[in-house]
């Protein structure tokens, strides 16, 4: 195979595959479609050259030329289509394009009918060449005009358009110029200038340059496809080399010593190819990644570093700063900021910023800027001219204030928890496609990390101490009952005093003998004394309940006793709301190892929930019993019940169906959503578990299981 044929074949393969891949990436885009057309045309042309390179007879050569020239004609047609779709002028130049296509079609027919040239002669040592007829000159003129026309418009636009698109156009202009120059040298032999068509290699160069342009400057956004094509071409070359080398070796050397049958030599070749295929592929992929897709490596590194560090950080300020500084370093940014939703959920503040004076900025949640971003599930890129013109002025203005060109909303479960803004790069380069593609991933990770840190923040700030929290929650709902418990003894005391005063007013004591008077007075005083004791007991009970336990003290606990203690707190409340209590304590129920006060808290919490569930008139049944290797304490109520979808969440922290607002209406049942979470945590500390059954409209049953001391518990929650 001659050099020309080889080049032709290479050109044909690369153009064809490239065109196909580009088209598949975005079949609907005019640009991609016209690129396919162009690729096919170049492939046809190259294939023609391949055929010509192998032609042995004039007839073969003529046929080759027919194919070749059809390719040339179509190339121009496709090239103009591609150029104008790139420049966005398809509509504008519609008429001219149609005219060109029509004319090209005519020449195609003329070519097929051998009207452009009739025969071929051996022109030089390189092969057959056609002898031109008159119509050929017409075509040649048209060809020149088309090339010039396309190049002229490319050149004009490249001067006018700035930025990313301008660079794109420049690349297309230069590479097309080179390609046509290389291909154009082929015309020389037609005019009897005997230059070998070796400059055809420039067509390959054109493909290469275009590939580079696409990769580095997002011409068609198909970097992976380009990589695949390059790798494929490289592999093809390597395979060809291996085959040739192996064949050459066997033929020249081995044959001297033994006769090697073709089968064996083929097997040997195949063996070498298979051996070298995968390593070669990996090497090519890595090389293209490293040298052509350097930025992609950078982004991968960024993401890896970011995810390793921020996901485990729990300080929200640190997380925010880390995100920002990592992006600043790896993307080499001039400015940037990270904005976070405040805990009050009403506004957003700038957590951290660099390169812009924004530290104390705040945004209200109803501000246009915030509302707009809340509805925007993707990032805003001011470097995209189309996007920039479509943005409302209020948004672009805000972004300019923040010196931002990229704005990424951070969402968690459809809630806008923050905003990330990135300024221009220090190098003034634009963000590449890979970077823009990876930013949303960074944003998602950031959102998760920030939300984790925020939750932890909330937990830390509310200083949750499990047992204490449970108590506070219980005490809150008991205040009416407690108050009553104390008011009764106070009432009696006042009545005693009132009685004495009243009787004195009525003059009763004037008539009474001394000892009877003493009797009255001191019995009243006794009553007062007893009531003071009673009131004190109530207060003591309450304060010992409210006191923060130092540590959980593990000791044998009688669940029945704990239940009775807990019930004692609730008696008044149950009375008030007409709730009856049924007790079913089992006999011989063993004691469990736990902290008595903690267990009382747990039971109290559940009783309070039961009370709330019932609201008005119902029954609460409490029972204790032994269930195999566990001891069960159960609280059943005839209340409203819990729906299945709530049932699986009731032990989650912060889950509540009660009013969590600051609504001051006394009737609203309040809750922090922490009660059952804490209850479960406490029970787990004692090796126990809690289960709940419920039916809406019927009632709920909470079952708490503790392991029987000395025995392993059956299963844990």
């Amino acid at each position: 195979m001659t050099f020309t044929a080889l080049i032709g074949l290479l050109n044909a393969c690369t153009s064809f595959t490239l065109g196909l891949f580009v088209f598949r990436k975005n079949p609907r885009s005019k640009k991609n479609q016209s690129y396919l057309y162009f690729g096919l045309a170049v492939a046809l042309y190259s294939f023609g050259y391949f055929m010509w390179g192998r032609a042995q007879t004039p007839r073969d050569a003529l046929l080759a030329f027919q194919v070749l020239v059809s390719g040339i004609i179509l190339i121009n047609s496709a090239y103009l289509e591609f150029v104008f779709s790139l420049l966005g002028k398809l509509r504008e130049k519609r008429k001219i394009l149609l005219f060109c296509h029509a004319l090209n079609l005519t020449f195609l027919i003329l070519n097929a009918k051998l009207l452009l040239y009739q025969e071929v002669v051996k022109k030089s040592v390189w092969g057959y060449w056609p002898i031109v007829e008159t119509p050929f000159y017409a075509y040649f003129g048209f060809w020149l005009w088309q090339v010039g026309y396309g190049l002229f418009h490319l050149w004009k636009s490249s001067r006018r358009v700035v930025g990313k698109r301008g660079t794109q156009i420049k690349y297309v202009f230069i590479s097309t110029l080179i390609g046509y120059f290389g291909g154009g040298t082929n015309w020389l032999p037609w005019f009897d200038i005997n230059l070998p068509p070796h400059l055809n290699i420039l067509v390959t160069a054109y493909v290469g340059i275009l590939a580079y342009a696409i990769v580095r400057h997002q011409l068609l956004e198909i970097e992976v496809i380009i990589k695949k094509t390059l790798v494929f071409a490289g592999l093809f070359g390597v395979v060809m080399a291996v085959v040739s080398v192996a064949t050459a070796l066997t033929q020249t050397y081995l044959n001297r010593y033994f006769t090697v049958s073709p089968t064996v030599s083929m097997a040997l070749t195949a063996f070498l190819v298979i051996l070298l295929y995968d390593p070669t592929r990996k090497l090519l992929v890595n090389m293209t990644d490293r040298y052509l897709f350097q930025k992609k490596e950078d982004i991968k590194v960024t993401l890896k570093r970011l995810s390793e560090s921020i996901i485990t950080m729990l300080d929200i300020d640190l997380v925010g700063r880390k995100i920002l500084s990592t992006l600043q370093e790896t993307l080499r940014l001039d400015s940037g900021s990270i904005i976070l939703k405040n805990e009050n959920e009403k506004n957003y503040r700038v957590l951290d910023a660099f390169g812009v004076a924004a530290k104390d900025l705040e945004f209200d949640k109803d501000e246009f800027f915030v509302r707009y971003l809340s509805e925007m599930p993707r990032m805003v890129n001011l470097e995209d001219p189309a996007e920039k013109t479509n943005l409302p002025i209020g948004i672009t203005g805000k972004l300019i204030d923040l010196k931002a060109v990229i704005c990424i909303p951070l969402f968690l479960h459809a809630d806008l928890i923050g905003i990330l803004t990135l300024g221009k790069k220090k190098s003034d380069e634009e963000f590449t496609v890979e970077e823009l593609e990876y930013l949303p991933t960074v944003a998602t990770q950031a959102a998760i990390a920030l939300s984790n840190a925020r939750l932890y923040d909330i937990l830390k700030k509310s200083q949750i101490d499990f047992a204490q929290q449970a108590k506070m929650a219980a005490i809150g709902t008991l205040s009416a009952g407690i108050s009553h418990e104390i008011k009764n003894p106070l009432n009696h005391m006042r009545l005693a005093i009132g009685m004495l005063r009243m009787n004195r007013k009525l003059g009763v004591y004037k008539k009474l003998p001394q000892d009877q008077l003493e009797e009255e007075v001191f019995s009243a005083l006794d009553s007062i004394d007893a009531n003071i004791t009673r009131a004190t007991e109530v207060i003591e009970r309450l304060s010992s309940f409210a006191k923060k336990p130092k540590e959980l003290k593990i000791e044998p606990v009688n669940l029945e006793l704990a239940m009775e203690h807990a019930l004692r707190f609730m008696t008044r409340e149950f009375e008030h709301y007409g709730i009856k209590v049924e007790r079913n304590y089992g006999k011989g129920v063993p004691e469990v190892l736990a902290d008595l006060h903690a267990v009382e808290d747990v039971l109290l919490n559940i009783l309070v929930n039961a009370r709330h569930a019932i609201q008005d008139h119902g029954t609460i049944e409490v029972l204790t019993c032994r269930q195999g290797e566990e001891v069960e304490a159960c609280v059943k109520d005839t209340g409203a019940g819990i729906s299945p979808q709530h049932l699986e969440k009731i032990f989650d922290p912060f889950f509540t169906t009660k009013d969590t607002s600051r609504n001051t209406d006394e009737k609203a049942i309040k809750g922090t959503g922490l009660g059952l979470f804490i209850v479960r945590e406490l029970i787990k500390k004692f090796g126990g578990r809690i289960a709940v059954e419920s039916e809406v409209g019927k009632g709920t049953a909470f079952r708490i299981f503790f392991p029987v001391p000395g025995k392993e518990p059956l299963n844990h929650v």
Partner: protein
């Protein structure tokens, strides 16, 4: 001590705390023309009220079995000529609102009560027929 005729005033107290009843009783001993009945069980107290048709009924709100609010609801329609006084240590605005505005009582005292004021009110209500 009972005298026939409407000159005899009758008071019924329903409160589960026996001490309350004992104090009121001691005071009413000095008023010969007033008969004082009391019960620490709501049911029983209601029966007494129905039977005696008193001038004034004193009710405690917080009681086991039937609370004062319910007793009030039950007795009011049956004793149109009777005045009702509620005493309570229950600290709940909603309940007070219900009792005072919706069901209606002639007086509402929060514990600890001033005995003299309660007595004054009782006599005031007894005057009004």
């Amino acid at each position: 001590m009972s005298e026939a005729g409407s000159e005899v005033g009758k008071i019924v107290l329903i409160d589960d705390e026996k001490e309350v009843s004992s104090f009121f009783s001691k005071v009413f001993e000095n008023f010969k023309h007033v008969r004082f009945f009391s019960s620490s069980r709501a049911r029983h107290g209601i029966e007494i009220a129905k039977r005696e048709r008193p001038n004034v009924v004193l009710l405690d709100l917080q009681m086991p079995e039937i609370n004062g609010e319910e007793a009030l609801k039950e007795l009011k329609p049956l004793l149109p000529g009777t005045r009702f006084i509620m005493m309570t240590g229950w600290d709940d605005g909603a309940t007070k609102n219900r009792i005072v505005n919706e069901i209606g009582v002639d007086a509402y005292f929060e514990k600890p009560v001033d005995l003299e004021k309660v007595m004054a009110k009782i006599f005031e209500l007894m005057m009004v027929k």
